[in-house]
Amino acid sequence: MEIEVKDLVQRFGGILALNHVSLKIESKQIVGLIGPNGSGKTTLVNIIGSVLQPTSGDIYLDGKRVTGLKPHEMVRKGVSRTFQVTRAFRRMTVMENMLVPALAVSPGHGRPALEKRAREVLDFLTMDHLRNDYARSLSGGQQKLLELGQLLMTDPQLLLLDEPFAGVHPRLMEKIFEYILEIHAQGKSFLIISHDMDSIFTLCQRLVVLSYGELIADGDPQVVKLDEAVIEAYLGEEVEDA
Amino acid sequence: MDYFLALTVTGLVMGIIYALMALGLTLIFSILKIVNFAHGEFYMLGGYFTYYLVNHFTGLHPLIAVPIAGLGVALIGLFFELGFIRPIHLDKIERPGEYAILVTIGLSFFLMNIGLAIFGPYPHRPPSFFDAPVKLGFISISADRLTAGVLSVLLLLTLLILINKTWLGKALRAVSQDKQAAAIIGINHLRMNTLGFALGTGLAGLAGALLAPSFGVTPDVGAQPSIRSYVIIVLGGMGSIPGSIIGGIIIGLVESLGAGYFPDPSRGLNYKTAFGLIIFALVLLLRPRGLFGRKEL
């Protein structure tokens, strides 16, 4: 599946959050999205996920224009996103959290079949033993995994991860890497927002950089790292491990 | 033309009183970030207090009863806030948004039935402030309403001075804008909440006390003023002081002129609040932030 955004402009009142951003993501790509705070990364992800409608510009899925879809329709088309601060359904069980997206995108399937699949995914994430617990009793890291599990239940082609490593301890982070790579091996694409340069450079084959709403670099991470414009954008910012 | 002027004057006078009550609601929204669904019942309490005070203490002039009633109502508001609203801000309540709505609705139900239980369903009317119609040129208006209007103006001015010029007012504004920042500079936001709620409900009580001689008090007397207050703060913009004042005056005029020019005068009175409600629905659907909508004072 190929997703393309063309010429996206996003205005919030007087603020120009995105300034003519164009980007194409094909199958089986892990793309990192970085940029200083406020550069428009989450806005871009919100637009790709159709949670936000762009002021102008278009989104194309496999060549077809899909601008203006409702968020849930975008999910059904294969694009799902996580939130910067995890938003699992706190007073529902882990299993129910998994079933909601599954049932939402597969109206025809029976519940037992979907429950079975949910257990498989939970197993993959080594969380099956928690399936009857309330989401709110999970640790922060587990909730991140749960969100990933929810995404997987929507059978996505493109997974948009917003700060998946934030506040996650190293051991769990390794696991998340594993999961991402395994899912990628199955042909899915990722667009990952992160401030964690280590992780980005480890995982991503391609790096996209936003600064003040403009796309200033797009390409091989090692090349982008040395790009003058990128370095300048980060001037004054603490870069963890350039 | 006379008719029009008479209606306009009535509308303005009532509008100012409505504004006073709506201002109370706006203050509560602004400082505590909740809508007080029992606002009308505090209005009712103000009326009942006035009636009770004048009845119980013979020789007490109704005008003196008004501020005492207002204070009494504010005290009730204060205690309710301490017991049932403060926990929200102490993080003791799950799903606080829902809770705030339900608990004030519950309070409304409770207070109205207390009024019914203690005073019965029939109207009670405290004696007039001044027992004469007043003539302003060719317009006549009851002295009670005029007094209520004038006092409302005075109260509004006092309140504006309080909010803008005193330390307390500034503290209230600080909490309404950013309670964490306010806390950092030493303002106890919990106390400001309590004060804000007491002040807001006190204003409703004062409005009720002021209008009790004109309209009498029944247990459900607060229902329409309640709705009217919602209309006004949505029209003016939730949390906006100028909004509630201007909104109040607009609604006062709309009600007066609407009822006055309604093709069938007897039904016109019944639909008085409906005019405001239609404006209300339209505002919510078309421009939810109202005229001056912001969240802070």
Partner: protein
């Protein structure tokens, strides 16, 4: 319970069947006056449980429920007055009219946050009440609109009792089925976090409106039935304190537990009758109970009891949590 083990029927259903049996034979043991009280109690049970579905499951704290009830009642009544349809068709029409109103309101409030939703539905309710009260030519306002009784000249309340019992049964079964279905899960997700639900593929517009339509139809149905039972309807059926009473029933029972809300309604209505001498103080008591329940027993008073005794489902939130240490 050996019997249940043999039959492999889950416990709640046994309770339900027993309750149904009790309800079926109840008229043999009580006087006609109390039969009336129970009939009205069943009506409140329908209102409280349907409201609790809309509020406790879908998270839509609407105050227009009594307005939908009134739409049902007055549609029935007015059709009877002007067209003289058979009562059953009236009731159908009333139910559908309420459903249509529910659709419109549900659509209008889609983007409203909780407080605005509450205010808007209060406004809707009040406007309707004013119109019903004001247009006396059509509705007979406060004098009351006369409505043909469902069972004509029959004096006995028995047919009404069994009819409303059947309606209550259908409503509860329907609500239970919905809440344990995927619709119920979607609604709970919407209540938990609407945006997240949207982002997980749930068509929140569709389901929110669905919740409104279904519950408003139930309210309308109870209103229509009420009209054809009492024979005289006035706008005072939908004054805000009535809505407050229904809310109290649902909350005191347990707003996230449909059975508790229904039974809360029945019990409170019966209590109100039993405590008749206390006059308005009865309502003061329940008002206080409502506020205190909200503050200290958020899940209601009956719901936790049911959970404890019967593991009575379905509910929006139920089991104990196991606190699991981080991975």
């Amino acid at each position: 319970m050996k019997i249940t083990q043999h039959l492999r029927v889950p416990k709640p259903w046994i309770i339900g069947v027993l309750a149904l049996c009790a309800a079926l034979v109840l008229p043999l043991f009580i006087k006609s006056y109390w039969l009336h009280v129970i009939i009205v109690a069943y009506l409140y049970a329908i209102l409280a449980s349907s409201w609790s579905f809309l509020a406790g499951y879908a998270g839509q704290f609407s105050f227009g429920h009594m307005a939908f009830m009134a739409i049902g009642a007055y549609t029935s009544g007015l059709l009877g007055k002007y067209i003289a349809l058979p009562p059953l068709l009236d009731i159908l029409a009333g139910t559908l009219a309420a459903g249509l109103a529910g659709f419109v309101i549900g659509y209008l409030v889609l983007r409203f946050k909780a407080a605005y939703l509450a205010l808007f539905t209060i406004a809707f309710s009040e406007i309707l009440r004013m119109v019903l009260k004001g247009e006396t030519q059509i509705t007979d306002g406060d004098h009351g609109l006369k409505v043909v009784k469902l069972f004509g000249e029959t004096i006995s309340r028995l047919p009404y009792y069994y009819t409303i019992l059947a309606v209550l049964g259908v409503v509860l079964v329907l609500l239970f089925a919905l809440s344990s279905s995927r619709i119920g899960m979607f609604l709970r997700a919407i209540r938990e976090d609407e945006e997240a639900a949207y982002a997980r593929g749930v068509d929140i517009v569709h389901y929110k409106i669905l919740a409104f339509v279904i519950t408003s139809m139930m309210a309308g149905l109870s209103g229509s039935f009420y009209a054809h039972y009492i024979g005289l309807i006035t706008p005072s059926m939908m004054v805000l304190p009535q809505m407050g009473l229904v809310i109290a029933m649902a909350i005191i029972g347990g707003v996230e537990n449909l059975a508790a809300a229904a039974i809360g309604g029945i019990l409170i209505q019966i209590s109100l009758e039993v405590l008749r001498e206390l006059g308005a103080w009865r309502l003061v008591f329940f008002g206080a109970l409502l506020v205190v329940t909200l503050r200290f027993a958020r899940n209601g008073l009956l719901a936790p009891l049911f959970q404890h005794l019967f593991a009575f489902g379905p509910r929006a939130e139920g089991r104990k949590e196991t606190l699991v240490d981080g991975d």
